[in-house]
Symmetry: C2
Subunit: 386 residues, 2 copies
Amino acid sequence: MDRSFLRRYHASAIFHRIRIQPDVSQREIIERTGFDKSTVSSIVNEFIEQGLVERRAKVSASGRGRPSEGLIIAPGSGLLVGVEVEANELIFVACGLDGAVLAERVLPFDGQLAGVETVIAHGVDDLVQMAGSEARVLGIGVSLPGLVDMDGALVHVPALGWRNVDILDRLTQACTAPVYVGNDGQATAMAENMFGACVDLENFIYMFSGSGVGGGLFLDGTIYKGAGGLAGELGHIKIVPQGRFCTCGAAGCLSAYLSDSALIEEISRLGQNRPASFEHIIDMAGAGDPIVLNVLDHAGEVLGSAISSLINIFNPPLVLLGGDLATAAPYLSGAVDKALRRLAHPAMYKAGIVKFAEPGVGGPRLSGIALALDGVTHAAGSQILP
Amino acid sequence: MDRSFLRRYHASAIFHRIRIQPDVSQREIIERTGFDKSTVSSIVNEFIEQGLVERRAKVSASGRGRPSEGLIIAPGSGLLVGVEVEANELIFVACGLDGAVLAERVLPFDGQLAGVETVIAHGVDDLVQMAGSEARVLGIGVSLPGLVDMDGALVHVPALGWRNVDILDRLTQACTAPVYVGNDGQATAMAENMFGACVDLENFIYMFSGSGVGGGLFLDGTIYKGAGGLAGELGHIKIVPQGRFCTCGAAGCLSAYLSDSALIEEISRLGQNRPASFEHIIDMAGAGDPIVLNVLDHAGEVLGSAISSLINIFNPPLVLLGGDLATAAPYLSGAVDKALRRLAHPAMYKAGIVKFAEPGVGGPRLSGIALALDGVTHAAGSQILP
DNA sequence: GAAAATAATCTTTCAACAAGAAAAAATCTG
DNA sequence: CAGATTTTTTCTTGTTGAAAGATTATTTTC
């Protein structure tokens, strides 16, 4: 820990406070963070000099005394690009440092490993054109549906069959701005903390489903990565001894009961209609298909059991469920709640501790942006914050 | 984070470095921690002035140049007392700040809640007499076999039937030295990090069994307590859907398959001999009792499944198994290893990632001491470190 | 218009790290 | 054996950055 650690810590906290609470005054920052007024004043002025933060008169004439001045992240002070790599598409999002979305684009993706870095680099360039901002691209965050180690290498992407790809190196070569990569579960958890349902929460567990089941552990204010960077593989919690086989090679994993393909398999095994996709399952459930409803109910039970383990392990104030879990919320939540009441430790379970994310809002689409913003504000060598 | 945060951080790191590596030189500290030589010199000298640290000429004349001076924690610089509360006994240990055990005593315990604080306070006083040290008692750490919240209140002790006891307040009233309380699993994990198998490990998961199954999560250099202080209840991970009933009220918990009483039940259900205790089980296993061996093998399988979940969740470099799990290691490890190879994610599983603690050594007996030392060196208001 | 209230800044002080010189204490070398 | 060399530790000086208090700025209230 070197000399300027405190300065960076304070600067980062103040920056994010302004970001998540636009129009805060210095006094509010002081109250909330407990930092000294001189510290806040000095750092805010440094930000303003850099052009990172702007002041504007507060609309609300609050009372007597000198009115406070609102602080906002200067909209044109920098550009972030987020890329979400999925099995069959690439989602590009461009944001200001304040997290305001400026442009968005989805490209189909064939899953070819050869040349991905070029495809992504071009996609980023095109999106920056579209965004039409003069601001410099400060960081590119790439969220990946697989295991990403501490060095930014992809260990394994089950959905695409990739193994041992030094994706960070490749992307850094191909792109002109600094690149930050990460696991999708971890990145989405970060996004939920930065922009979504978990702003101002110091501890929560995030879990999502889709082609697989993943998650992120947000502990004491940051993503917990574990010794190798791979922590948070919540889809491979064992829930049934000698249970169904999973893509990871093991048996009885949560993912083998909850992923889209697992649900599709189970529904087609029990009935005569094979759903073509997860959206189709939701349609069938909406139409009242009893087999689908039954399968989803059982999935909810299994999910509730896994969540109760997580609650007993982490004693979290919130477990947030996203991705297709959030989409299926109406058909899962009953069984989940029932399982939780039965299985979670009474001292750690409280009603409302498990929430479904708003489908489509905030989190997932911004997972790449979260990686970029985290990189830009925290990573060593980044020059954005003092 | 106030001004002296860095000083405290540095002082704490230097103190513990000297503690776990007696006879280090300043230069070694500098190399290991990366702190500046001035910082180390200044803090070490402050310690020496306080009488907390002593210098002594190093025996090994290493080479040419000025020989380094070895630093040790001054043996008489302070006394710590650790108390471990168990279902039927109280274990008292007195140590110096260096962790050297000076006295030890075990008292039978009737499990009565009324007056425990007095019993413990007297036990502490007697032990301090026995230790025969002039040093002042700097802290008393009390390790409790139940859920301890952030305020030091006991939420629930299943083995004793206690609920909602403000044990910290009571003990603080009864004792003359500062008291620190904690959950046994968390405290033992701390002890393993301070004195045992996990010195210098930043991340590991500790799990133990006995009258119940518990654990501690050591993440990024500290015990993770969760939002409410209750994190680490690894005994209540669900491993079997609709499984055996557990003392926590749920079903299918690991504890219901692995605790001493669960093993006793299972063995007596399958055979005609009911073991009187866990020690008896080990004797029977040693004698080659096929039923006992079979039950332990199955327990190992179940344990391996739970550990594989933990590995997939935390990506830890080590999972340490203590308590009666360590005692039963010869009869468990085969099944555990087999389950791990089958169930843990190949990217996160490495041979040797799961270890059994040395039975009786280090960890458990020092769990109270770990709480005391942690309190004395980290807690706000403690005046030992600057 | 003066007083009171509130927000932000400025000035001074102090703690703590940082860098380099110097001192201390040994070994090596000719 | 004397001086050179090496290594460890301390001392001196400089700089950063937070803490505290006074000051300034800007409003409302009376």
